[in-house]
Subunit: 427 residues, 2 copies
């Protein structure tokens, strides 16, 4: 027989083998990790939906102009910190580094068809071209929740209470985390141009944003460069921030406080900004952050639609859940409820028929049609955490008498498949 | 008051507005489309899980070598039909055009920890750089199901029956679609080198693959270039394909047949190949396709692990469901169950408190804290498909007597919130 060059085998004999590593800074999700990821995503989705948030999505590919529109500083960010390339149609494309510009684009695009206030959420994957570090990868996912078309402070209260509730729904206690609230508008109002030259204010806010990450000496040194001689900055809470905090208290949320060092990295925030921190000391980075952006849809023309939103990352979320031991053990098990084990290849097809019957009752079931010995197959079913096994050989096929074994209790029952179904239907 | 340059507004005044269009060939998912997408994904997931398939995922970013490893022809495919670029670390990166190489990489990477047979599924988004056309976009999603480490024909039967069951679980009837099965090995065995020069066989299989898309004359013309003078190709069914078809029949699947024109585009298939077609005539492209690939993990070194898998696209799936009117109407509604409507801004915060109470019972609820007139708010709640509204004004706040209105029946009930909860708990 002649071997035709359909298979890569021969070609590869002479070549170096490929690495099984993923691309640098991204993750492979094997079933156990994927189960945890899905648990996080489904908890996020359930909480957001209880608040009446509707789910949307967009492509990860966006025109680069979407991120560059906000000024030269953004252009630098796009060029240096994102995956941006030119496609063959000479279009500049970016793998989205955040979701807010995409959702602003979508809302602006259907502003006349949509009815406001709009509550939207999404769980996008986002890309940043930066050095991988704890809690920061080149690709990560985020829960993004936004309210559009409601500028009243109640929207701020509700959105922050949703962020709070998300953590509570994972089993977190309020004393495990802290919500820190500030206002960009407040800072603009209170930092007069007697203290800071207006063109240096964005630099000052960024400096404040990284205050926790640098030494106090360094902060003072940098602050001196920006603040006029002899001036000193002291920000005090204003009415809007007070209302938001009081609103949270009236909803029973006690772990929110005013913090004038919260400024957020993105330039588009205009008023309320907030971040949530793990107070265990294990995870220093903010678990989630957000704020109000009153002008973002303006870049698409038309009247501005006020928005407030937050983003909550999957990596920091998982770190938090693991630190506080909040991932239930059962989440990790992805084994089917029943495994049917044929003794030889002869029983493979009968095993499939039995599995099909069980499956019709909505029960998860698989067959072990591998070539391992039966003992190995049974041991493996147990290790994986299956609840029941059915071993079938020649006798079982001819007599139609099957034995199911409960791997948890050791109990066994023998009979025709139909009569055994009740035993299987145990959660 | 001085305006600091925090907002993009001023900058944008002098610039052209940005377009709200998405990048070419990709989709925005507004809530109604997203709801349909989620319905498709969750139906896929539920069916695969009933078969004992475990979910995995990987990043969309993969080293380009993963796709180029299979020979020069693949190199051409990568260069011309994928999004491939060089990152700043001089690594060549590709946005994954298909999932099979990624799953082979992951399986090979943990071959010693995993227990076989392995049943894995994923719902990845995939990228192709091609002209957008019906059923083919630059980004689309696919259900990918694979069985590794089971070379017995039963695995082929089970995998095809899973593909069949997926469609049935969407409400499809067996006479709406057809499963066409062939074998690459069969073709290799039967197309001897007396008929075709071995190096031309891949070209011949690709020609057969596109037979349905070109005219008969064109097919014959192209076939003549590849087949030796005077020869003619006639493929007849063999034992393995017969066993697979008989296995399907024993599982009650009647709409599968042998079809020697099914060859599949990918070169890595080695034996069974199959495709599923809509028979309505509305959608010509295969809805799903797959096959057995016995050597794919070899490119990572070590012994080959046999795999069989299929991919089913979301775009063709939705076309099929729409053609056969299989998308339930209720899926499209994403409105919350209850909407609390404050009459003025004064009642915004009381509305949030009421919503919070209702939400604790697991009911989806939102507040209409926009600035529209109450009549507009009520009309909108009804248009969106909410089931209940609670309008609150000054009187309701002071008396604590609320009225809930069932928008479907028109029924109203008045009382304290606690006593009204039973009425809300109607599905």
């Amino acid at each position: 027989m002649h071997y035709y060059p359909l298979s890569p085998t021969i070609l590869l004999m002479t070549e170096k083998y490929l690495s099984t590593d993923s691309y640098k800074g991204v993750r492979d999700f094997y079933p156990e990790d994927m189960a945890i990821q899905r648990y996080i995503f489904s908890t996020w989705a359930k909480t957001a939906e209880r608040y009446g948030f509707e789910r949307y999505d967009a492509s990860i590919l966006e025109p680069s102009a979407l991120y560059k529109a906000k000024g030269a500083e953004n252009e630098e960010m796009v060029n240096e910190q994102t995956y941006t390339f030119i496609d063959r149609g000479d279009r500049e494309v970016t793998l989205r580094p955040e979701m807010t510009p995409s959702v602003a684009r979508m809302v602006a695009g259907q502003r006349h068809e949509l009815s406001f206030p709009l509550r939207w959420y999404s769980i996008p994957n986002l890309f940043r071209y930066e050095r991988p570090q704890r809690g920061r990868l080149r690709e990560h996912c985020q829960l993004n929740c936004d309210i559009f078309g409601a500028s009243h402070y109640t929207a701020d209260v509700e959105l922050i209470s949703l962020a709070y509730q998300t953590l509570i729904d994972f089993g977190a206690k309020p004393d495990m985390f802290e919500i820190r609230v500030n206002s960009r508008k407040l800072m603009q109002e209170q930092i007069s141009d007697k203290l800071i030259s207006p063109d240096l204010l964005p630099d000052y806010l960024r400096l404040v944003d990284k205050k926790a990450k640098i030494s106090n000496d360094e902060f003072i040194k940098e602050e001196k460069k920006l603040i006029k001689d002899g001036a000193s900055v002291a920000i005090v809470i204003n009415d809007k921030v007070s209302q938001v905090l009081q609103g949270l208290i009236s909803l029973g949320i006690q772990n929110a406080k005013f913090d004038s060092t919260i400024t957020r990295g993105f330039n588009y925030y205009t008023d309320t900004v907030f971040e949530v921190f793990d107070v265990s000391g294990e995870n220093n980075r903010a678990m989630l952050g957000g704020g109000r952006y009153d002008n973002l849809t303006e870049m698409f023309g038309g009247e501005a639609i006020s928005g407030i939103g937050f983003g909550m990352g999957d990596v920091t979320m998982r770190d938090f859940l693991e630190t506080h031991k909040l991932i239930p053990e059962y989440i990790r098990s992805t084994a089917p409820h029943v495994i049917v084990i044929p003794m030889t290849e002869e029983e493979n097809m009968p095993a499939e028929l039995i599995a099909q019957h069980i499956r019709k009752a909505g029960i998860t079931v698989s067959t072990d049609i591998g070539i391992r010995k039966v003992g190995k197959k049974i041991g493996d079913a147990s290790t994986r955490g299956a609840r029941f096994i059915i071993v079938i050989g020649e006798n079982e096929v001819s007599s139609k008498q099957l034995t199911i074994k409960n791997l948890l209790s050791g109990e066994e029952h023998t009979g025709e498949l139909g009569s055994l179904m009740n035993y299987l239907d145990v959660k």
